[in-house]
């Protein structure tokens, strides 16, 4: 799949969106959006009014009716485009499922080729090298390298194996080697992609809590303006002014918050689209909204804050041992150690002029692998038993004592955030290897930005207190939880939530599932287990732990866009009043002229200009609604001032300019 975002006005999206725009005129759908429903009714009444208007007003009423219809259509169009974009992205993901057949294993262990669409949950299939996995599932037997680039864009193949935390496979990915048996975990149409697609489609889309609250506000404003306008009729009768229905409807539609009312659902859908562009599938709109509210980020140290592996950075020899002797011993002990740590020791030793020896160069060498019992690895060579391991393990190996200077070296390394490995022969400890966690670049600044936004970062690690504290300081996180067991994570989330905070975390393992379910925003990695994916409310297809930071930014951006356009919409009303109220009263009370501060051409042109502006502003703001307002990581106070200046003050000024311009054009064209 390509990762470029789909352009807002891509022809492939626009054409079906135009069709949807009209399909959405169905009053049964419109009624879900009270603001636009009132506009629709207004447009319908104005259309009828065309035939009841005096001859000299027909042109005016026709124009009013046309622009009111446009207002409704523009709003529908905004929603249709947002939906279309989400669908296009989801479709692109779906197209990766080109596999049409699957090798199903029946109960009598016979392999039968069936249609991929006929697979049901709990069916077992076999996938061989070169084949595409037909549906989401879990490996129950075997291991294989899998090319997941179709989903993640990452070209390097990954290993997937039965049991443990790497057993989940996604439909549409390709097996490169070996053969695996997979138990299907979802019925067709219920996979993550299908859920995602249904979330951006109008039919099954549920309003998020904040969207619902905002809809109530907009509905209440609509009721208030409805009152203000409806009562104008009798007040007009009292004052000897006759307000025609089209004029009253024009005033009403201009006053009710059509801008935000028309764009509200598009903003919500676009938020999900943007997540999808980042290769994150949200399981609910509520999760996206919650992301903006997150107060605490739980980040696993390994993989998120540090590169996955530790590296040897220094040899600290014991008294009477040279650095070179220690390096030599350490290298010997690590030759058979294929872990990244082991290899980094071999590499570091080269700096002391010790060339990397091959295992076959050492006849008679007997390599001792790491076991959970000894917690050491090493080699028996030329009568020497060389071992490396954690200080406590080596201490036991040496009969329970370590020299004070070794103890202090171990202490120093631990305190600086490193992991000390003690290298020893059966006689004595030779020294300490300093293994260091490498903190990813740029994280400290990023956490700094989060702090400015009031978000606290907590690092979770199995390391001891000292090590954890040092890495936490280097990475710039606010807090850390050391020697953490999976259940500690859950307890920490519960504790933060009891304090009223919202917690986000990212995880992959089965033992992360309870914590993922408890967190307000739980992002499961796509490489993780099925259990983890079911428990979280988002799935990161790239399995990139730092993605959490981007998810939060998208959540915040979504909320800001909503607030900004609401403010803009309400602020617009001032100018519209100044356009329409004088125009309505001008004939009966010519003294009202000073209130026509925009010096609009005529009463009709003033009203028409306001209506046209009101419709056009929806179209003009569609790109902003879909893209989201520009997000800067600032503190609340600066963020508010900035947005208030742009969308509040701007919202007051822009319509004055816009309405005046439209009025000049209308007057120039003699339309009113």
């Amino acid at each position: 799949m390509t990762h470029k975002s789909v352009s807002i006005f891509d022809g492939k999206i626009l054409a079906p969106a135009l069709g949807d725009t009209f399909r959405k005129l169905d009053p049964r759908l419109m009624v879900k959006n009270p603001v636009m429903f009132v506009t629709l009714v207004g447009a319908a009444i104005s259309t009828v009014e065309i035939f009841r208007s005096p001859a000299d007003q027909v042109l005016f009423v026709v124009q009013i009716a046309i622009w009111l219809w446009f207002t409704v259509l523009f709003a529908n169009f905004a929603e249709a485009v947002a939906e279309g974009r989400g669908k296009a992205q989801a479709k692109a993901l779906r197209q990766t499922r080109t596999q049409t057949s699957a090798n199903k294993i029946s109960d009598d262990e016979k392999i039968k080729t069936v249609d991929a669409d006929s697979l049901r949950k709990d069916d077992v299939i076999v996938v061989r090298a070169g084949e595409i996995i037909p549906a989401d599932g879990e490996i129950i037997y075997g291991a294989a390298t899998v090319d997941e680039s179709a989903i993640t864009g990452e070209s390097a193949p990954v290993v997937r194996e039965a049991g443990g935390d790497r057993s989940a496979v996604t439909g549409g990915t390709r097996v490169l080697s070996d053969e695996i048996r997979i138990r299907i975990t979802c019925n067709p149409g219920e996979g993550f992609l299908d859920r995602m697609i249904s979330l951006v489609e109008g039919a099954s889309r549920q309003k998020t809590p904040n969207e619902l609250a905002l809809t109530i506000l907009l509905a209440a404003l609509t009721i208030v303006f409805l009152l203000a306008v409806v009562t104008l009729k009798p007040l007009g009768i009292y004052s000897g002014v006759t307000f025609s229905n089209p004029v009253l409807i024009a005033l009403l539609v201009c006053l009710i918050p059509t801008t935000i009312g028309g764009l509200l659902s598009a903003i919500g859908i676009a938020g999900m689209d943007r997540l999808l562009q980042k290769n994150v599938l949200a399981m609910s709109g509520r999760a996206v909204e919650a992301a903006g509210d997150v107060d605490v980020l739980l980040l696993d140290k390994t993989g998120t804050i540090t590169l996955g592996n530790r590296q040897a950075t220094a040899f600290l020899p014991a008294a009477g041992v040279t650095e070179r002797e220690l390096a030599d011993a350490a290298q010997l002990a690590s030759l058979a150690d294929e872990t990244p740590e082991g290899r980094s020791i071999v590499v570091l030793a080269k700096n002391f002029g010790i060339r990397a020896r091959e295992i076959h160069e050492l006849p008679g060498a007997q390599f001792v692998p790491f076991t959970a019992q000894t917690r050491m690895s090493g080699v028996n060579y030329e009568g020497q038993q060389i071992r490396k391991g954690a200080a406590t393990a080596v201490k036991q190996f040496l009969g329970g004592t370590l020299s004070p200077e070794i103890e202090s070296a171990v202490e120093t390394v631990s305190r600086s955030g490193g992991t000390p490995l003690v290298v020893a022969t059966q006689e004595r400890a030779l020294g300490v290897v300093h293994l260091k966690d490498i903190v990813k670049g740029g994280l400290a600044e990023r956490f700094q930005r989060f702090r400015a936004m009031g978000i606290r970062t907590v690092m979770i690690t199995g390391d001891n207190q000292l090590t954890a504290a040092a890495i936490a300081a280097e990475a710039g996180v606010d807090d850390f939880l050391a020697e953490a067991k999976p259940e500690d994570k859950l307890a920490l989330i519960r504790k933060e939530q009891t304090g009223g905070r919202m917690v986000a975390m990212i995880g992959d393992g089965t033992n992360d599932a309870p914590a993922l379910a408890q967190a307000d925003v739980g992002v499961a990695m796509n490489t993780g287990t099925q259990a983890a994916k079911e428990a979280g409310n988002m799935v990161d297809l790239d399995s990139n732990p730092t993605k959490l930071l981007e998810i939060i930014e998208i959540g915040k951006q979504l909320l800001i866009t909503r607030g900004a356009l609401t403010t803009f919409s309400i602020a617009n009303d001032i100018a519209k009043y100044f356009a329409i109220i004088p125009a309505m009263l001008m004939v009966t009370f010519p003294v009202i002229a000073p209130l026509n501060i925009m010096h609009l051409h005529s009463p009709n042109s003033a009203i028409l200009s306001a209506v046209i502006f009101n419709a056009l502003v929806i179209i003009a703001l569609i790109p902003l609604a879909l893209r989201g307002v520009k997000f800067r990581p600032l503190g609340a106070a600066q963020m508010l001032q900035r947005n208030l200046l742009i969308y509040g003050v701007g919202g007051v000024i822009v319509p004055f300019v816009g309405i005046k311009l439209i009025d000049v054009i209308i007057a120039g064209l003699h339309l009113a």
Binding site: L217, L235, V241, L595
Partner: protein, 599 residues
């Protein structure tokens, strides 16, 4: 607008600032069921006795539904009590003038009016009410309606301050403590002060004075049914009447005036209200009456800050109120001082502005100041006739009421009205910091928004609905003394004043008709309880929520930005709702006046 007047204004505002904190601290003790005050030795036994008589367990708090039920029961019972007394006035004692019983509609209107802290008066007190009616039927409401308003505000503040709580206080305890510890002692002191200024306090029958110069006035001639007789062309038949005696009002005035101001009731003892020489004898009494009507409203903001442990928020809410108060005073004063250009052209203008309908004793500045603050608060006492203000000067009181009387406001009502706008501001602007809206750590969710909007929509609904109805009905138009835009302003003002529980009148409108009495009564009931009930529901909902600790990412409810936002929201929502109606009334009238047309 001379230097003395500026100094007086500065003195008034300075005094208001000074009383805010000490009174606010005292309020906190009154609202706390276990709070200690220096009145304890005296009042505590009385308080305990009251609980014992009414079987109230002061330690037992109520959830919002129980609280609301208690509040409604209390209001209904006291409303019926007053209605009964007014209907039976002629059979009851302390009626030296032998006033008859009030009509059904006037008794309904008056009972509702005093129960809802509106104190709209469709009658002239000195020619309608017996001393018993004034002292018992009406004055108890001056205390109780004020206490109910404060109790509701205190409950709402508790809801905001508490977390994961099921209760919002005990209504009976709140009302008892507010009455005993706050209103009664303050009124006692204030009434004694007012008597020292020359205000009357007695049970004497009205006295008659012979005029030095008899006067002849022309009045409408009425038939036996009290209907005006009209001639063949439809004009009323006039007849001359010679007046040579004047009846001077007497009675227990100081005791009622003290609570009238402190409780922001505003119902005058005399029809002329605070313009009457007895009801407002000296400049000092005028000054302190104005201070009395804003001081509790101002102190409530301090209590909000203290209770929520965010004093900055309390002062920010205060600042928003203060800024709007000052702006209103200056606009009104300026408009009145500028006067009527028509008068100036005719050479009949008073030197310092529009003196029509104003007491010479108080002058332009004190009249404009009084008019502004009495409508800032939901008081409605007047020391001048708002009807005679210039259109723009009259627009200020009207707009003050239409924005919900949130500029300090009625005791309690001002704060809970303001909190509606605070929550709305937080909800609209709060999103712009990238979080779902939260107010002092409480998430504002659908239910809360629904309640806040219910409370605010009801005002627009009642005001605009009834005004529109009255303006096209015969019953509505026949009561008007003025035609044209000014007549519309009068109707609009009446319903605005009723629904806003203000009670001041634009005069010029004969509201004592069955239609107006009844519709205004309904407007007052809806305006009061239609607002209180959703707000208590809001208090209950907020009390149950968890508090999210504030962080750098939290929307701040203090500081200049917030004050500007809050004022902006109030002006915008107020202006947007009522601008069309205002345009047809005072705005057109103002422009017409500038062009030479008067109504």
């Amino acid at each position: 607008m001379n230097i003395h007047q500026w100094l007086e204004l500065a003195l008034y505002l300075g005094a208001l600032i000074l009383v805010t904190k000490p009174l606010g601290l005292y309020l906190g003790r009154v609202f706390d069921a276990n709070g200690r005050t220096w009145l304890d030795p005296l009042v505590r036994p009385l308080e305990k006795l009251t609980y014992w008589i009414f079987r109230v367990d002061p330690a037992k708090e109520q959830g919002w539904k129980q609280y609301t039920f208690a509040m409604l029961t209390f209001s209904l019972v006291s409303l019926l009590f007053t209605y009964t007394i007014l209907r039976l006035q002629n059979f009851l004692p302390l009626n030296p003038q032998n006033f008859p019983a009030l009509s059904e509609h006037l008794a309904f209107n008056t009972a509702v009016s005093f129960t809802t802290n509106t104190n709209w008066q469709s009658y002239a007190g000195e020619s309608t009410m017996s001393y018993l009616s004034q002292m018992v039927a009406l004055t108890i409401h001056n205390f109780f309606s004020a206490a109910v308003g404060m109790a509701v505000a205190a409950a709402l503040v508790r809801g905001i301050a508490r977390h994961t709580a099921q209760t919002i206080g005990n209504f009976w305890v709140d009302v008892t403590r507010i009455t005993y510890y706050l209103l009664l002692p303050l009124c006692l002191v204030f009434a004694i002060f007012l008597v020292s200024q020359g205000m009357i306090q007695n049970f004497k029958p009205y006295t008659s004075a012979k005029l030095i110069e008899s006067q002849t006035i022309s009045v409408q001639k009425n038939d036996a049914n009290g209907k005006p007789i009209v001639d063949a062309r439809g004009n009323p038949v006039m007849e001359n009447q010679t007046l040579d005696t004047q009846t001077i009002v007497q009675g227990p005035m100081a005791s009622q005036v003290a609570i009238k101001m402190l409780g922001t009731n505003g119902g005058g003892y005399a029809n002329a209200n605070a313009a009457h020489p007895f009801e407002n004898p000296t400049p000092l009494s005028n000054f302190l009456q104005m201070l009395a009507l804003l001081c509790i409203g101002s102190a409530m903001t301090y209590h909000l800050g203290r209770e929520t442990k965010n004093q900055k928020h309390g002062w920010s809410v205060w600042s928003a109120m203060f800024a709007m108060c000052l702006a209103g005073i200056l606009i009104c004063w300026w408009a009145e001082a500028r006067g009527n250009p028509q008068h100036q052209q005719l050479g009949i203008a008073a030197a310092d502005g529009n003196m029509e309908g104003k007491e010479v004793r108080f002058g332009i500045m004190n009249s404009a100041l009084f008019a502004t603050v009495t409508t800032d608060a939901s008081c409605g006492a007047v020391n001048s006739m708002h009807d005679s203000f210039t259109p723009l000067g009259g627009l200020v009181p009207l707009f003050n009421i239409q924005t919900g009387e949130v500029i300090f406001g009625g005791v309690g009502a001002g704060l809970y009205g303001m909190l509606i706008f605070v929550v709305l501001t937080v909800f609209i602007a709060g999103l712009m910091v990238g979080r779902t809206p939260e107010y002092l750590g409480k998430k504002i969710e659908s239910y809360d928004v629904k309640m806040v909007l219910l409370a605010s929509v009801i005002l627009a609904f009642v005001i605009l609905g009834f005004t529109a109805w009255a303006s096209v009905s015969d019953w509505g138009k026949s009561s008007l003394a003025n035609q044209g835009p000014h007549g519309l302003s009068e109707i609009l003002y009446a319903y605005t004043s009723g629904a806003g529980n203000n009670g001041s009148a634009f005069a010029g409108l004969n509201a004592n008709t069955p239609w107006y009495d009844t519709t205004l009564g309904i407007a007052m009931l809806l305006g009061r309880f239609g607002m209180i009930i959703p707000l208590l529901a809001l208090a209950g909902s907020l009390a149950r929520k968890k508090i999210i600790p504030a962080s750098a990412g939290t929307f701040s409810v203090s500081g200049v930005t917030f004050v500007v936002l809050l004022v902006g929201t109030i002006l915008l929502i107020g202006a947007l709702t009522f601008l069309p109606a205002l345009a047809l009334g005072p705005i057109v009238e103002h422009l017409l006046m500038l062009k030479g047309n008067l109504f």
